[in-house]
């Protein structure tokens, strides 16, 4: 019969065996890694002259020639790594020449086969490589992987690869729909992925804005901030009343980028909108766009109960040359609410302090001097009035 001590000894033997086995595995992995490093070094040395050749003739007519002789699979991988490091850095004819070379070397074909590998990370690696090589043939395979593979972060690797490979809008649209279905609130990331595409994504964003799914609409709206498209007024007007608050805010942000949409009707509507975020965005945009005609509306908005709306309105008034600054100073006289007066005073002082730093722009310096002069005259007059009232 086995005593507890014998069992403990067996356990210790077992644990020691496992530890030794683990160490052996680590040792083998390390050796493999060193061997791979050495193989890579030898291969890079062997093809050093060839790499010089491909870098020296990137802008000449005709395709770059693949190296003479038959390449082993491992050599192909190492050459591909070097080519991808160049592809990441260049655009224009040099990139195109390298892309053609990747195809001529059979690298695209090799990774297309790896897309069907049993190993998940081989598939992910193949998709990444195909993306870097802008391989159009890989589009159906990558879409299939996006539909089939486990839902994890590799979806984004597939999506980026697809964005680089796709030549048709419909493929990008399918990718966007798969990503939106996969994870919510990643619209900025989707737009960033789409920016890697070779095709013009403007029309895609326009069509996404008309979708029923709010997440797709958000992708479209974010995309349109960097892809200005004409004739969007009517669609955006409708979306201002969307049931989704985030959509409403994004639409107004988009409208605020174009002075044509900021009509008097729209500005007064937005400044009194039930969503404080919308009022705040519009108040800020008026100052940034220098729309002095809306000074009276901003003066009204400084009384808004929401802090950000009031603050942005005051900041915008300070930005709107001397007229806006004058309106801001008048708040100190006219307003009864001490909180608003205090906030206005802070904004005025902050604006005047900007002049302490030397500005490169002469026009800015002149405007600042005008504001300072106005403020000095105004405060003297106010003080005199106060003294007169005291007497």
């Amino acid at each position: 019969m086995e005593t507890p001590l014998t069992i403990a000894v067996y356990m210790l033997y077992g644990l020691c065996g496992a530890a030794v086995l683990g160490l052996l595995v680590l040792f083998v992995l390390k050796l493999r890694h060193l061997a791979a490093d050495k193989r890579e070094r030898v291969c890079l040395e062997k093809y050093q002259d060839y790499f010089f050749y491909i870098q020296a003739y990137g802008e000449e007519e005709g395709r770059l020639k693949p190296p003479a002789g038959v390449l082993t699979r491992s050599e192909k991988r190492i050459i591909q790594k070097k080519l991808i490091s160049l592809l990441e850095r260049f655009r224009g004819i040099h990139r195109q020449k390298l892309l053609d070379l990747c195809e001529d070397l059979g690298l695209v074909e090799m990774d297309l086969k790896r897309l069907n590998s049993w190993w998940k990370w081989s598939r992910v690696d193949a998709a990444y490589n195909l993306g870097m090589m802008h391989a159009e043939q890989a589009v159906p395979g990558i879409i299939r992987l996006m539909k089939k593979d486990d839902n994890d972060a590799s979806m984004f690797i597939f999506a980026r690869a697809l964005a680089k490979c796709a030549r048709q809008e419909k493929d990008l649209r399918e990718m966007v729909k798969l990503l939106v279905a996969y994870r919510q609130n990643c619209q900025p990331l989707i737009v960033d992925i789409l920016s890697d595409s070779q095709i013009d994504t403007g029309p895609l964003f326009v069509s996404l804005v008309s979708e029923e799914d709010a997440d797709l609409v958000k992708v479209g709206l974010i995309g349109l901030t960097s892809h200005v498209q004409p004739g969007m007024g009517s669609i955006l007007d409708q979306l201002v009343n969307s049931a989704d608050k985030e959509v409403r805010i994004k639409v107004v942000k988009l409208l605020c980028r174009d002075i044509r949409y900021l009509t008097k009707r729209n500005v007064s509507l937005f400044l009194t909108h039930p969503d404080w975020e919308i009022s705040s965005v519009v108040a800020k945009a008026i100052g940034e766009l220098g729309l002095s005609t809306y000074i009276p509306l901003l003066k009204r908005a400084v009384k808004d109960p929401h802090w950000w709306v009031a603050r942005n309105s005051m900041n915008s008034l300070a930005q709107l040359q001397v007229d806006g600054f004058r309106a801001l100073c008048s708040i100190l006289e006219e307003e009864r609410d001490s909180c608003i007066r205090e906030m206005a005073n802070q904004v005025i002082q902050k604006e005047l302090e900007k002049g302490k730093f030397p500005s490169i722009d002469l026009e800015q310096q002149i405007t600042h001097q005008q504001k300072l002069l106005f403020y000095q005259e105004w405060s003297r007059k106010t003080l005199n009035t106060a003294h007169a009232l005291e007497k």
Binding site: D49, Y50, F52, E59, L64, A68, R89, F90, R91
Partner: protein, 262 residues
């Protein structure tokens, strides 16, 4: 006279037209027997199907010359890789290789060939492939000097090859401090710098360059992956003449460099 020159004229006479482009490869070899020369010729003929070429060997200088008809510089360069392979396989290579190409074969005069022979014999090293640049007007000076300050080895390697091809003299510095030191030594016509640099960043480098400028000002081009307006503004305020973001077009970069240096 070196026997390679008459051999080349013989090759030209046999060529179809003097308006054809042609390439020349010179390789410093060991002492070659006629059998070795025939072996090399045979091996190269196999690798170059349909290519009109001629091989000659000069015993005195131990130089092997390969003349190629209708080949531009890139084709000649690519063929030189195979010449090198063949020579190395048999252990016949003794030094480096020099390649040149001429858009019209009549540009390859005896004088140019003599200069090539001289240059390949002066080359140190083993197995290196050097490019021979010749100007039709006979001037020897470079298009300008460029200091490249970048921590990215891939970009450094590429730009050195690319800009040297355009006739510029390129010096590389790996970090900001190295950049300042090399700037003080060389006072180049143009500095291409990244903003993200070890030890001393691109802004500090530009400030130091600004302080040290006594004679004609070196132009500065910023080549970086920073895309923020703030970085662009600050770079121009510190004296940058141009700002290029990665990924970049080498053709565009070359055009900007040419404009700034000229």
């Amino acid at each position: 006279m070196n026997s390679l020159v008459p051999a080349f004229h013989q090759f030209l006479q046999a060529s179809r037209s003097e308006h054809n482009s042609c390439g020349i490869i010179l390789a410093a070899c060991k002492q070659l027997s006629p059998t070795s020369v025939s072996y090399i010729e045979e091996a190269l003929q196999q690798k170059s199907t349909g290519l009109h070429m001629q091989i000659s060997y000069d015993k005195n200088t131990r130089l092997l010359a390969v003349y190629l008809e209708g080949q531009n510089r890139s084709e000649t360069h690519f063929f030189s890789l195979q010449v090198k392979d063949v020579l190395q396989e048999r252990g016949l290579l003794a030094g480096s290789l020099l390649i040149a190409s001429f858009s019209e074969s009549k540009q390859a005069t005896s004088y140019v060939l003599q200069r090539m022979i001289q240059e390949v014999m002066e080359l140190a090293g083993y197995g290196e492939i050097k490019l021979f640049f010749h100007r039709l007007d006979g001037r020897e000076e470079t298009a300008g000097s460029i200091l490249l300050v970048n921590h990215d080895e891939t970009v450094n390697e590429f730009l050195q090859i690319f800009l040297q091809q355009k006739g510029y003299h390129v010096t590389i510095a790996q970090d900001g401090m190295d950049g300042v030191q090399k700037y003080q030594e060389l006072f180049p016509d143009l500095v291409i710098t990244d903003l993200n640099l070890p030890i001393m960043d691109g802004y500090q480098l530009m400030e130091r360059i600004k302080q040290q400028q006594t004679g004609p000002a070196s132009k500065i081009v910023v080549l970086t992956d920073k895309k923020l307006e703030e970085d662009v503004k600050k770079s121009f305020a510190l004296g940058a003449s141009d700002y290029i973001t990665k990924p970049f077009s080498p053709v565009e970069l070359a055009a900007r460099v040419k404009r700034l240096i000229s």
